[in-house]
Structure formats: structure tokens, C-alpha cells
């Protein structure tokens, strides 16, 4: 098994077009995530971020191009890929009619988590959900629910964690705490993270590398510092607005 097969994520010439849509949602995208790396996927609404995440999760069939997760296709090698990845998104909920702890117990059963009770206890304590573990998920606030989703995603010890706007519903204190926690768990486990967010400050501090998308195409890629220097921008916020307004980054040389 060579290096390529152990790379957490490798996307080559990925194209996906929704039926009845004119332009492709993702257009010849090339990107990778290296072991232990945190990659931020940025772009305005409709840039193709969520579609890319769905392709990584095997939820859609690309029109062309390939997605390889640890060297395997998430479409045809589900049994190799899915136990090694997990996902938390602001748009995907846990069953509202189960208690928080019951949800985690079922996830542990689905993924075959060893010593599940202890792992659940540890995550519940880390994400400060101890007093809520017997509450119905439907009764949790948006922020509490998001923390539970992160517990769910981390419970299975994924080697590649996919996060879609993980701090959107969290207050600034909890958002900061969650970022620190994620970072510490990531370092501890050597986990790779593919992360989307509209919070540019978060991306700047949290991600090792960022990939800027617009209309499904990659506009730029690099470390946050490199990108800011290359495009002579003070902040990713400013750069983001530039992309949203003009669709270009105007590289300065």
C-alpha cells in the first residue's frame, strides 16, 4: 500500500451537476487532505462546499472525476471508508425523539465502538452535556444539539472528520471552547479534518490550509497566511467579500 492510498482525502477532476441546473455545482475540483491536517473549504453560498462534502461522504455520484478516501471510493468501497470517517453538520440532526445518551449509544452500536459507555461519558463531560444526557434531543437548544452532534462524530474515533458549520449555533464562549476541544482532540488522535465555515476568523485560526471555492471551481489554495499575503488582504473576511462580489481574487504579483 503506497502513500496515495493512505492519504485521507484525494479529489481529482470532480464534477457534479444537479438535474435541471445549468452550471455544475462542482467543476473539475482538485484537492487533498493530508494526514493530521485541518483543511477549510470556503466560499459563498452555492460555491459547492456542501456538494463536495456529500461527494466525500458517498451521498452523491459524481458526473466525472474521482473521490478517494484513504485510497478507497466512498461509493463502491463503503465498508472500507465509512468506519474511518464521521460527519457533523448544522443541517443534519440526531433523532429528536430519543434521549441524547440513547442517540450516542445507538451510534456506538452502529460503528462497533469499544468500551462505548466510558467513551460516551468522556465526550459528554468534554462537551458539557452531563446534565442533558437524559433529555430528548428535540428539547435541546440549537447549541446543545450541535455539541451532541460533535460528540456523535467523535465517538467513533474517525480518522477523517468532516464538519459543516460546526460552530454556527454556538455562543462565542462555547464556540471558542469547542474549537479548542476539537483542536486538542485532533492533535491527540492525529485526525484529519475537512471543515466548512462562514466564520473567517475561525477558519484563519483553526485551519492549516484553506481551499477557496466559487461556482464550484477552486479559486485559491494555501495556508491562511499565504493566501492573505498572496492576495494582499488584511483578513479572510475581506477576501471572502471580494470573492462574493466579483467572483475573483485578483492575485497580486
Amino acid at each position: 500500500m503506497g502513500f496515495m492510498s493512505t492519504r485521507p482525502l484525494e479529489i481529482a477532476q470532480l464534477v457534479f451537476r444537479y438535474p435541471n441546473a445549468g452550471a455544475p455545482a462542482v467543476d473539475r475540483l482538485e484537492m487533498t487532505v493530508e494526514p493530521g491536517e485541518i483543511v477549510g473549504l470556503l466560499g459563498p453560498n452555492g460555491a459547492g462546499k456542501t456538494t463536495t462534502l456529500q461527494a466525500v461522504l458517498g451521498l452523491l455520484q459524481p458526473a466525472s472525476g474521482t473521490v478517494r478516501v484513504f485510497g478507497h471510493s466512498p461509493l463502491s468501497d463503503r465498508t472500507h471508508v465509512l468506519p474511518r470517517i464521521n460527519f457533523a453538520s448544522v443541517d443534519v440532526d440526531l433523532p429528536s425523539n430519543l434521549a441524547a445518551r440513547e442517540c450516542l449509544r445507538i451510534v456506538a452500536g452502529l460503528y462497533g465502538v469499544r468500551d462505548a459507555a466510558r467513551q460516551i461519558d468522556a465526550l459528554i463531560a468534554q462537551f458539557e452535556l452531563g446534565s442533558l444526557q437524559r433529555h430528548l434531543v428535540g428539547s435541546l437548544s440549537a447549541g446543545e444539539h450541535m455539541r451532541l452532534k460533535l460528540c456523535k462524530a467523535l465517538l467513533t474515533s474517525p480518522e477523517l472528520l468532516i464538519l459543516d458549520e460546526p460552530t454556527l449555533n454556538l455562543d462565542p464562549y462555547m464556540a471558542q471552547k469547542v474549537r479548542e476541544l476539537l483542536k486538542s482532540i485532533q492533535r491527540q488522535r492525529g485526525m484529519s479534518i475537512l471543515h466548512t465555515s462562514h466564520n473567517m476568523q475561525e477558519v484563519e485560526t483553526f485551519c492549516d490550509r484553506i481551499v477557496f471555492l466559487h461556482h464550484g471551481k477552486k479559486l485559491a489554495e494555501g495556508t491562511p497566511r499565504d493566501i492573505l499575503a498572496r492576495f494582499q488582504s488584511h483578513s479572510l473576511d475581506e477576501l471572502f467579500i471580494r470573492v462574493a462580489v466579483s467572483g475573483e481574487l485578483f492575485q497580486v504579483r
Binding site: 457534479f16 444537479y18 438535474p19 455545482a25 456542501t50 456538494t51 456529500q54 461522504l57 458517498g58 451521498l59 452523491l60 455520484q61 461509493l75 463503503r78 465498508t79 465509512l82 468506519p83 470517517i85 464521521n86 460527519f87 453538520s89 443541517d91 443534519v92 440532526d93 440526531l94 433523532p95 429528536s96 425523539n97 430519543l98 434521549a99 440513547e102 445507538i106 451510534v107 456506538a108 452500536g109 452502529l110 460503528y111 462497533g112 430528548l136 456523535k152
Partner: protein, 267 residues
């Protein structure tokens, strides 16, 4: 414990917990079957009073048919609702990205359907005995394979309707609830197949449920079920099961190709 068994039991547990957590859901399992039994039972008792002793057999046929139809109907509903539940609660993506094989999910939903059907059938049998002095044991041991065939047909239709749900989203909801009622008149649940017009008899003979209800009536009359009837029941059930499974797989692949899987329930 094998990994498949562990995953199946986790999914099964997820569906069972829904009922433990919600009294209304637990109540809903029994409410409609019991209401059907009461209405049909009282109607047939009334008919019996009008017609005297000559209608005694009618109540036996009707109650037997009602309990048996419920096995098919609840079986179909349980399979489809287990998928709908994930869409309603926006948990479908979590299930689709979990390392579950399709057959494991199907097996868990069949187990859930069997538990639901078993519970409802037990309650209906006790009520039928108490209110109408109807004993399901009058059918004899034949009832077991007949009930199993109706449950299998329910599963097959459940797979088909689950596929429609993946293909059309909530737009297919009316079909999901309506398909069993579309099949009911042609399944000859409450009347013999010969009583149908010729064109309807042709359709009826394409459904395994028709043969099952004919066999049920024959058993209640004290007769035996011919081997050829069992042959039709098994052959048609296997065909419908293959059709339902094929439809589910095709609709899943179609939904994945169109990027619709994560948007289910939003259409």
C-alpha cells in the same frame, strides 16, 4: 457477536426506543386496528341479527380476514415508516454515512415490523375472542404460513414504497399510505375471487394476498389448502419481494446520482 448482528440490533433498538419514549406512538400501533375490529365486528354482528343463524359464518370470515389483512398492512407500514422516521427527524444522512449494509437496515426494519405485527395481532386476537367469540386457532396451523406470506408481501410492498420515498420524497407520501388500499379490493380480503368481475379476477390472481385469503377462507370452512395454492403464494411473494428490493436499490442509486439523498424531506 458478529458485526452485522450488532448493527442490526442497534437499528432495531433505535426504532423500539421511539415507542418507549412516546406513549402516543405506542398507542397509535393499536388504535386503528382495534377501531377496525370494533366497527367491522359490530357491523357483522348486526348483519347476523338480521339474517339469523345463516350469517354465523360471515362474522368468522370477516374477523379472520380483518386480522390477517392487518398483518399485511402493518408489515408494509413498519418498513416504510422506519425510513420515513429518519427523514422526518433529519437523521437520514447519519444513517446513510454509517457503516451499515442495505440488507442490515432492511433486516432491522423487518424485525421491527414483525414485532409490531405480532403485538397488534395478539391484541386483535384477544379482543376478537372476548367480543365476538372468534378464535384464530379455528384456522389451524395453516394460519402461521398464511400470516407469514401476508407479512412477506407487506415487506415487499414496504420496500417498493420506501423506494418511491427515495425517488419522489414527500411527494410520494400519498402513494405510500394509499398503495395498500389500492391492493385491498383486488386481494379479495372479504369476498371470494369469483365474486369479482372477470377483469378484476385477472388482477386479483396476480397478487399473493388473494391466494392467502382464499386459503384462509378454505381453512375456516374446515377444508384443506391445495399445494398448488401454496406454490402460487410462494412464487408470487418471491417475485414481489425481488421487485420491491430492485425498486428500492434502483431508487437509491437514482437519488444518489441526482444528489437528492441529503435533501430528502425538503421537496
Amino acid at each position: 457477536m458478529s458485526q452485522s448482528f450488532r448493527r442490526i440490533s442497534a437499528i432495531f433498538q433505535r426504532y423500539v426506543l421511539l415507542h418507549r419514549r412516546s406513549l402516543i406512538r405506542a398507542f397509535d400501533i393499536c388504535f386503528w386496528p382495534v377501531m377496525d375490529l370494533l366497527i367491522w365486528g359490530f357491523v357483522t354482528m348486526y348483519l347476523q341479527q338480521l339474517a339469523g343463524g345463516s350469517a354465523a359464518q360471515v362474522i368468522v370470515f370477516l374477523i379472520g380476514a380483518l386480522i390477517s389483512w392487518d398483518i399485511h398492512y402493518r408489515g408494509q407500514q413498519a418498513v416504510t415508516i422506519s425510513l420515513m422516521e429518519e427523514i422526518w427527524t433529519r437523521n437520514i444522512v447519519n444513517m446513510l454515512i454509517a457503516p451499515i449494509r442495505l440488507w442490515e437496515w432492511i433486516a432491522a426494519s423487518f424485525l421491527y415490523a414483525t414485532l409490531k405485527v405480532g403485538l397488534v395481532t395478539l391484541i386483535l386476537c384477544v379482543l376478537a375472542k372476548t367480543l365476538y367469540a372468534f378464535e384464530i386457532v379455528r384456522v389451524g396451523w395453516t394460519f402461521v404460513p398464511l400470516a407469514a406470506s401476508l407479512l412477506l408481501f407487506g415487506w415487499a410492498i414496504g420496500l417498493l414504497t420506501a423506494g418511491l420515498l427515495l425517488k419522489f420524497g414527500y411527494a410520494a407520501e400519498a402513494l405510500i399510505w394509499g398503495i395498500p388500499f389500492l391492493l385491498q379490493p383486488f386481494s379479495c380480503v372479504f369476498y371470494p375471487v369469483e365474486s369479482l368481475p372477470h377483469w378484476a379476477q385477472r388482477m386479483a390472481r396476480c397478487l399473493p394476498s388473494t391466494y392467502a385469503f382464499e386459503a384462509l377462507r378454505a381453512s375456516l370452512r374446515g377444508g384443506t389448502v391445495e399445494w398448488s395454492v401454496w406454490g402460487w403464494i410462494v412464487g408470487l411473494n418471491v417475485s414481489y419481494f425481488a421487485l420491491g428490493l430492485g425498486c428500492l436499490i434502483w431508487c437509491f442509486q437514482d437519488a444518489r446520482a441526482a444528489g437528492r439523498l441529503s435533501r430528502l424531506g425538503q421537496e
